[in-house]
Symmetry: C2
Subunit: 65 residues, 2 copies
């Protein structure tokens, strides 16, 4: 399944590099998060969510049954 950060980023019409710059991290960091190969810090998750006008739950929470 496609990563939710990626979807939200594309909805905002941002490239990885643009999102990374707004947040203050590198493009690579965003790329790895979108490939689910990273365990980002809470602060970074919050920064991503705010920049994409989403919440933590929107982007990083899987509802358990």
């Amino acid at each position: 399944m496609v990563n939710k950060v990626k979807i939200a980023r594309i909805e905002k019409d941002l490239t990885q590099a643009q999102l990374a710059q707004k947040i203050g991290v590198t493009r690579q960091t965003i790329g790895l998060i979108e490939k689910n190969e990273y365990n980002p810090s809470l602060q970074l998750c919050v920064a991503i969510a705010e920049t994409l006008d989403k919440t933590l739950n929107d982007l990083f929470w899987e509802d358990k049954k």
Copy 2:
């Protein structure tokens, strides 16, 4: 203001050590998170939320105006 993890933990009647053990981290890690002296990883935040029957937003999201 009192940390939301601490409140949720006490509501579940768990000590820092008990919560830490359920999650698989040390007591110190929980203590530091409750004192807002840490930037925990997303995986750890998710584990804490699940263990306390909360969501990421419940424990780690401040609503922006």
